[in-house]
Symmetry: C3
């Protein structure tokens, strides 16, 4: 069994952002030399997500609006967590809806994807450096 | 390390459906000959889910009603994504709540499940052929 | 490839609870002797979650309030599932928001975590014994 590890770094200029990272994960896979296995891609921070969906601008706007409706940022004082001095409780909630991680099959040296699958980093409390972990195991 | 891959095909006759697929995954596991490892089961389409929950008709109806409340199909014009000519933005949102994939332990050649765990394919934009990927790694 | 399996048992005294289990998973990892690989941690019951987020008391209260808002326990009669004699339909829904499982990378014999990641067992229908599965594969 072979294994591979890499951290990807991001610094979104806005509080919330969706960044496509499929190609960066493909580069990791190429570097690993692994042909059959699994790749785990996870946010290393608890106010961010890694998820798979469509790279369509309108849809990403729909996600932002929908998440804001499900877990509004304001009023900041509406969350117990924000009494610690944080203002990011909503980001912890949004991340649970979108998920922490994806696991993707590797077949014949490629990400084994359906026609429209793209990996995204979802940032819900940006404007600082944060990381995504790529871990690959296989042969 | 051994690996195994299979695509399962579905064509739900309705826009939304929940289809139990535990036995199909068990058949894959048997074919693989793998006794210890992990199986990844994921929707290959971004308007569908694979999830684990209870095979109880009333609960599946509750899920449908609840998801429709969280991310309504109508009004179709309420989503930016639908300006592309699609009418399935809600399906992309529902899929995030229910999840893209499950990872299940394989122990002694079996799906290592609690008493009520069943694997489901969740369709949110059906009436066409769509796929689920089963990838198994182990020994 | 090596593999390891353990069940962790919980009996929350209340209907809903969040229990940090990071150290129990670390103990499993130590017992396994695995240095590079993946660990799957999943609820074996369908009204419970395993998730990764912040060990901050206020945030856990925010999760409880938010989940109760998204999928209220009352009125119990509002769910088809509860016509079976159960009163836990809401717990099945809450579990989907928070997720069934996490997959965590193992690197150099440790859980490969960001600075604040903690593993939690999320109970939504407690007051009875329930299990979490820890499965580790690697070398």
């Amino acid at each position: 069994m072979k294994s591979y590890r890499k951290e990807l770094w991001f610094e979104a200029p806005t509080r919330r952002a969706f960044i496509r990272i499929t190609q960066q994960v493909e580069t990791c896979l190429h570097e690993s030399g692994i042909r059959e296995g699994l790749v785990l891609v996870n946010a290393m921070h608890i106010t961010a997500s890694v998820f798979i969906n469509d790279d369509e601008r309108g849809l990403l706007q729909d996600y932002e609006k929908w998440l804001e409706n499900l877990a509004p940022h304001e009023p900041v004082s509406g969350y117990q967590h924000n009494r610690t001095g944080e203002d990011n409780a909503d980001a912890h909630l949004k991340r649970q809806v979108m998920g922490r991680e994806v696991v993707v099959a590797i077949t014949a040296g490629k990400l084994d994807f359906g026609p429209w699958e793209q990996i995204f980093y979802g940032e819900f409390d940006g404007r600082r450096k944060k990381r995504v972990l790529v871990k690959i195991i296989g042969e």
